[in-house]
């Protein structure tokens, strides 16, 4: 059989928010674009985002601006963020939201007819543009329809709607191809037929999202297998800060089949409170020193905040996600959990039923249909779930170019740096838009200067052999059971709370599973065979898990989405260090690298006493990098 081949200017791997935004930008720069996705078009995990997209438009509180948003983002990330990414994000987010409106998006409105904005954990002002609790769906559909609009324009110009943008749905990329040290294309297979496919292109944008399926309890769909993280590592790129995973504080805990599915933070933003089995509103006990001046320490003030935000501190339920997740974990460990091992989240006693159904419609449905719980009448049971990876491909902030691999770009969850050690809710949707656009523009700029870089026959053969391998093995291991084993290891040994001995045990076990994964054999044929698909996903998840465990071992402090039982506090020295993972063909190696220091103009945006909580006296004395 002859190999299916395609040539494009830019390949976008992943059709979630970041990938689609990159594709729009590259096409509008005049280039031809292939969008490749593992699922059907429009099913990407972005649809699951509920709360909203954070942008300092100032529609609800006009004190808001990019500088306030920047400060909130840096605080949320405990100052480990790449300052330049946080700066670009805060500055450009409003334009990216307004742009969606010109493509047909319909956000909820304020009384003046502007885009409405809601409160969320860690954001000083109401900042999240939203559509009920299905904001992610609105984003993905708007961009999906923008792609169609561009295709229709191409149809009028070239007589073929797919002349310049084509979506390759249900197609998996197994390898990013390089020639002469630069990107040359990508290789993969159609999930439907199992037939192989070659893309030749000088630029590749990775926008594959997260790694949640590496863990046992996760809010991520099956697609979150860290493909882009692993593809980038294998192509010679670096991953930064893979020890930081966000456990969303509120996932469903019952029934077992929906364990991990997200309960949006908007439930708390709208007034939901957390209580333990003794009926205690426990979050007041868990306000860390660095946040004491921003969060109410008593119920009366916390409740007043919903009406008057200028004269009261925020309720502690709205602390950044890492703080709330750890608090819930501690309550359950102390024996004050619910019957199914969570805590209670309640809106029923605080908000009228019809308002709940209007503001949180999908939450109402989710609990009613999947758990038989009517959230307008009773409390929800919730607990932490693996939600988001802050770590990811190390990129050049302005262009989203992957460091070390000419022609490779990364945007969205798969890219690292933007969120530091912990992401604020709502910052993900605008991250996709801001850096998706920048990646598309960066790729377009690169392609203009790149010459032809054809893929050699030897490279093709090596990629094809790798796909064939699991079929030619006899007996051996089952990819489903190895995946389940890996999830146990990560959950138990490098999960929400970590210690040296357990991390070391995890590293050894991951290596063992990886060795056994070389013997994975696949039953059945190539046609739409999930066992075959999982064999490749498993390989990616193993690399991600190794990178996470090795980075977690090195970082001897607790910060954001990395909590060490043996090093409980935050240590300002560790704030100066990023962990860089690279792959040598056999194993992942992790080394420390200095984090770029804030320039003076950003340094000066903060109160010096706040910076003293995060920085060493020497850094404070310097007052910025310039």
């Amino acid at each position: 059989m002859t190999l299916e081949r395609h040539k494009y200017d830019v390949l976008v791997i992943g059709a979630g928010g970041a990938g689609l935004r990159a594709a729009v930008e590259a096409r509008e720069a005049g280039l031809s674009v292939a969008i490749i996705c593992k699922s059907l078009f429009g099913k990407a995990h972005t649809v699951m985002a509920e709360g909203g997209a954070a942008a300092s438009m100032g529609n609800v509180n006009d004190n808001d601006n990019w500088m306030v948003h920047f400060r909130d983002t840096m605080r949320g990330g405990k100052f480990l963020n790449h300052y330049r990414m946080a700066e670009l994000h805060a500055k450009e987010a409003p334009d990216r939201i307004w742009e969606l409106e010109t493509w047909g998006a319909l956000f909820d409105r304020t009384k003046e007819g502007k885009i409405s904005q809601r409160n969320f954990g860690g954001h000083e002002y109401p900042r999240l543009a939203h559509v009920g609790d299905r904001t992610g769906l609105e984003l993905i559909r708007t961009m999906q329809q923008k792609i169609v609009a561009l295709q229709q324009a191409d149809g009028r110009e070239f007589g073929d709607m797919e002349a310049k943008i084509k979506v390759f749905a249900e197609c998996t990329i197994t390898e990013i191809l390089k020639e002469n040290g630069k990107i040359a294309g990508a290789y993969g297979y159609w999930r439907e037929s199992g037939d192989e496919i070659l893309f030749e292109a000088p630029a590749v944008v990775i926008a594959t999202g997260g790694v949640g399926k590496t863990f046992k309890i996760t809010s991520n769909s099956w697609e979150g297998t860290g493909d882009g993280h692993a593809l980038a590592l294998k192509a010679g790129a670096n991953l930064v800060d893979m020890e930081f995973l966000q456990f969303h504080p509120t996932g469903m805990v019952w029934p077992p089949s929906v364990r991990g599915i997200l309960v949006t933070e908007s439930v708390r933003g709208e007034g939901g409170i957390l209580t333990n089995s003794e009926g205690e509103r426990f979050m007041f006990k868990y306000i860390p020193d660095v946040f004491k001046d921003k969060y109410a320490d008593n119920e009366a003030e916390a409740d007043r905040w919903y009406e008057d935000q200028d004269n009261n501190r925020r309720p502690p339920e709205l602390l950044p996600r890492d703080e709330v997740a750890r608090a819930i974990n501690a309550e359950v460990k102390a024996g004050r959990g619910t019957e199914h091992g969570g805590v209670f989240l309640d809106v029923s006693k605080r908000i009228p039923a019809e308002v709940i159904k209007k503001r949180l419609p999908s939450m109402w449905h989710q609990f009613y249909e999947l758990a038989g719980v009517d959230i307008t009448k009773e409390a929800m049971e919730v607990g932490p779930t693996c939600h988001y990876v802050m770590g990811g491909v190390e990129v050049e902030p302005d262009t989203a170019a992957a460091i070390g691999v000419p022609g490779l770009f990364a945007a969205g969850e798969v890219a690292g740096g933007m969120h530091g050690s912990n992401r604020l809710g709502g910052n993900s949707l605008t991250d996709l838009l801001v850096f998706g656009r920048r990646a598309g523009a960066g790729a377009a700029e690169y392609v203009k200067g790149a010459g032809a870089n054809p893929v050699s026959d030897a490279t093709i053969k090596a990629a094809a052999d790798r796909i064939e391998a699991p079929f030619s093995r006899q007996g051996g291991e089952n990819s489903y059971s190895l995946h389940a084993e890996l999830q146990e290891v990560t959950h138990n040994l490098v999960g929400i709370i970590r210690t040296r001995t357990e991390i070391e045990e995890a590293i050894a076990k991951i290596a063992d599973i990886r060795a056994r994964s070389k013997n994975v054999a696949v039953a059945g044929g190539r046609k739409f065979n999930p066992g075959f698909h999982l064999a490749f996903d498993l390989d990616n998840m193993l690399l991600v898990a190794e990178s996470t465990a090795k980075s977690a071992l090195l970082r001897e402090e607790s910060r954001g989405g990395h909590t060490r039982d043996d090093f409980p506090g935050m240590n300002n020295k560790w704030r100066q260090v990023n962990h860089i993972s690279s792959f040598d063909g056999n194993q992942v190696n992790v080394k420390a690298q200095p984090l770029p220091m804030l320039p003076k103009e950003l340094f000066d945006l903060f109160d010096i006493h706040e910076l003293e909580k995060y920085m060493t006296p020497e850094e404070i004395a310097k007052g910025g990098s310039n």
Binding site: G104, V131, R134, L137, E138, P256, H365, Y480, N529
Partner: protein, 252 residues
């Protein structure tokens, strides 16, 4: 507590296939997709099923369960009798690829035929002002998760392959309605095109689509019927007909 469930699964491809009986463990609170996954992990490693979010938000796991189009992730096993055999088959309106997976590309072709949103040229980004009450009408249709259950159940195409060419189906009638009701969209004649190019006239409002919609969108009442009524108003309005004659005469 686990119990045994009798599950009957359609297995095969475009050339051949049939129902296979299996027994599988089921636990309290599980949905049909959970037991299908258990079959996949323990008995049929190559069983093809499309799924994604497992929370009723992405619309991937559409199939027919005891003959009814449903999302497998939102169908509780407990909603059936304990002794009842649950039969799962692929969507009937679309060609089978393998087992429970069908070729739904028809829908993506139809999506490309609906003219895109057109934003007012004079309105710069950030300048749009809309009332909440006005956006809500379109927002109802934008809840659509594109599970295509409404397309599958629609009898205009379910057993009539020949109608597919000239019929967009309920999913795209709500897309047209959504754009038509969009407070800012500037493209004219969307309703008329729904009639002339997308086949809304073939719908005889049996409301099957509304019944299967997992998002509870009132497809027939809020999108199809209002559009049909308006098309009639436009096409058979005596005043407009008279104006049309004058226009033609003027042109001639």
């Amino acid at each position: 507590m686990a119990r045994k469930l009798n599950l009957r699964i359609w297995r095969g491809d475009a050339t051949d296939g049939g129902l296979k009986d299996v027994q599988v463990d089921v636990n309290e609170g599980e949905v049909v997709l959970d037991v299908i996954h258990r079959v996949q992990a323990t008995q049929m490693g190559d069983l093809a099923v499309r799924w994604n979010c497992k929370a009723g938000k992405c619309g991937s796991c559409s199939m027919e369960i005891n003959g009814k189009p449903r999302l497998a992730c939102m169908t509780q096993v407990a909603s059936f009798d304990e002794n009842e055999t649950i039969t799962v088959t692929p969507l009937r309106a679309f060609p089978v690829i393998k087992d429970l997976v069908t070729d739904v590309s028809f829908n993506y072709k139809k999506a490309m035929e609906v003219p895109a949103y057109e934003h007012p040229k004079e309105l710069a980004p950030g300048e749009a002002r809309m009332e909440q009450i006005d956006v809500e009408r379109s927002q109802e249709f934008r809840k659509c998760i594109e599970c295509f259950l409404c397309q599958d159940v629609c009898h205009v195409i379910r057993d009539h392959e020949e109608n597919k060419k000239s019929f967009a189906g309920p999913r795209f009638f709500i897309r047209i309605a959504e754009l038509d009701m969009h407070p800012l969209d500037t493209l004219k004649n969307r309703k008329r095109k729904a009639q002339e190019e997308h086949g809304i006239g073939m719908c005889n409002i049996t409301k099957c689509c509304t019944e299967v919609c997992p998002e509870h969108i009132k497809i027939t009442d809020n999108a199809i019927i209002p559009m049909k009524e308006r098309v009639v108003d436009i096409k058979y309005d005596p005043a407009r007909m008279f104006a049309g004659i004058l226009k033609r005469e003027k042109r001639n």
